[in-house]
Symmetry: C2
Subunit: 318 residues, 2 copies
Amino acid sequence: MKKVLIAYRLKEEGLRELEGKYVVTLPREKSYFTKQEVMEMIPDYEVFVPNFSFYTDKEIIDRGGKLELISNYGVGFNNIDVDYATHKGIAVTNIPNSTREPTAEFAFALLMAAGRRIGYYDRKLRTPEGVSWGVYAGGGLPVYGKRLGIIGMGRIGQSLARRAVAGGMEIIYHNRSRLDPMTEEQYNARYVSLDELLQTADYISLNAPSTPETFHMIGEKQFQLMKPTAVFINTARGNMVDEKALVQALKEETIWAAALDVYENEPHIHPELLALDNVLLAPHAGTKTMEDRISMSVEMVQNIIGFYEGSYNISRVN
Amino acid sequence: MKKVLIAYRLKEEGLRELEGKYVVTLPREKSYFTKQEVMEMIPDYEVFVPNFSFYTDKEIIDRGGKLELISNYGVGFNNIDVDYATHKGIAVTNIPNSTREPTAEFAFALLMAAGRRIGYYDRKLRTPEGVSWGVYAGGGLPVYGKRLGIIGMGRIGQSLARRAVAGGMEIIYHNRSRLDPMTEEQYNARYVSLDELLQTADYISLNAPSTPETFHMIGEKQFQLMKPTAVFINTARGNMVDEKALVQALKEETIWAAALDVYENEPHIHPELLALDNVLLAPHAGTKTMEDRISMSVEMVQNIIGFYEGSYNISRVN
């Protein structure tokens, strides 16, 4: 039987399909194995399952002499040195299906909440200072009738577009490659350059993968291009944005607001962000519901079974 | 020239069409006229414009001996004694068009934010206590795949349904009268009794008008019928819900969460609500963006001009 090492205490109900066919090790007494613990155990295992916050680097891969598969519990795989895994002949898979709807849902929820100031109201109403109940003071920005620029128009980006269209938004997008005309038509989406997107969108959502090429793709220059009324949403990965430049743009009101689910040094949030009223903050919770997190386990398990038994299509990233 | 008394200092840019054709009085030095001030001035005016928080009662109507029209700055008109106005031969209008999309947008934003815990995260991340970044702890509820029960399937309810369908929700609704089959089909919406709605919906949104019949229509008995995982959203009017029973339901976790834009005694919010983590609070901000509030003025003005000149269709409520 193949041996599977899971670094996080995932719920049993998402792992049932492995029972009896694979030897599964996962933490029982605590939430996760440390890097040290993984280093000690990994030489015995053919399959390793990190979650998105566990860095699977050269050292771990080198130590896993029997490794055949890294089955990531996450859709983003910037936590894995994929190039090195490929070099060592190790397959890497991710879970795009179970994460698509929850992440797009969270992105749209953050977008609407930031525009309409829902986090701000809830927070301020609970302080002695309160908020104005008058007709105009402290109001938000409409979503309906506004232009959404989606950077990264893959599965999550398109799922966000579907919601945004129903919310009365116009869609523009930038992507490594242009979508086929039928898909564009489905969302009435227009392909534009990154600069045009930044300059003309009212809401800007980052939905691209984190790669060496997208590191700090949004920085001071990009915030300067945005409208002063722009709302910036990041549910992708923190390292794609220069967080210092973002703090500066919010403090100086170069843009109107931001909504963030991801950060450069999670779980650390830049202390100035915590003090700003024009940012909405979430703790990397894009897929954080019990149902979705269990569906993610099921998809992760199907990648393992599909890899060895061919009974499922798997999502390989290398 | 007809004389128009506006109780709130609405922005000039929404009132331009009245210029030169009507004599317009509105507060210049402060935000609103008090009841006393309105009582002093109203005998001279043919048209009165209250906003939704100004109670236009028998006393005011009796004092307005020349009144021909009350052009409400709001879609809900529970702030006006419409029966008495009718009895006195005074027309009453409201503004359903400019308020539809912003209110439905706000309702959906609250729904998503409450389910996915966006207000909670933003608030807690800014406290020393913080929130868990783990895989499961403190997660929310999905929206995608869940059933939305809409109470009051008029214009706002349908506009909410459009967004919810794109968000992957199934729609059930209760209404005074059943919709035509084509409209039902548009949202794949199923008409059910109020009790069935309360018992089977995952999210329940109140979008009916406030009338004597809907006063406290949601109380202890109704909360008891809901699922323990239900999320209740009210963007309609506070007096349709027994606020004490709602506080109890949230404290005892009879339901999972609520999101509220309206309250029984605005701008007063029940102090226990302010202390609860499973409620999301907004300050009657359903239409609160500058653009929407100006569009509302334009529609309110068109009701006046349409009433006297016939050049616009008007929304009469009596």
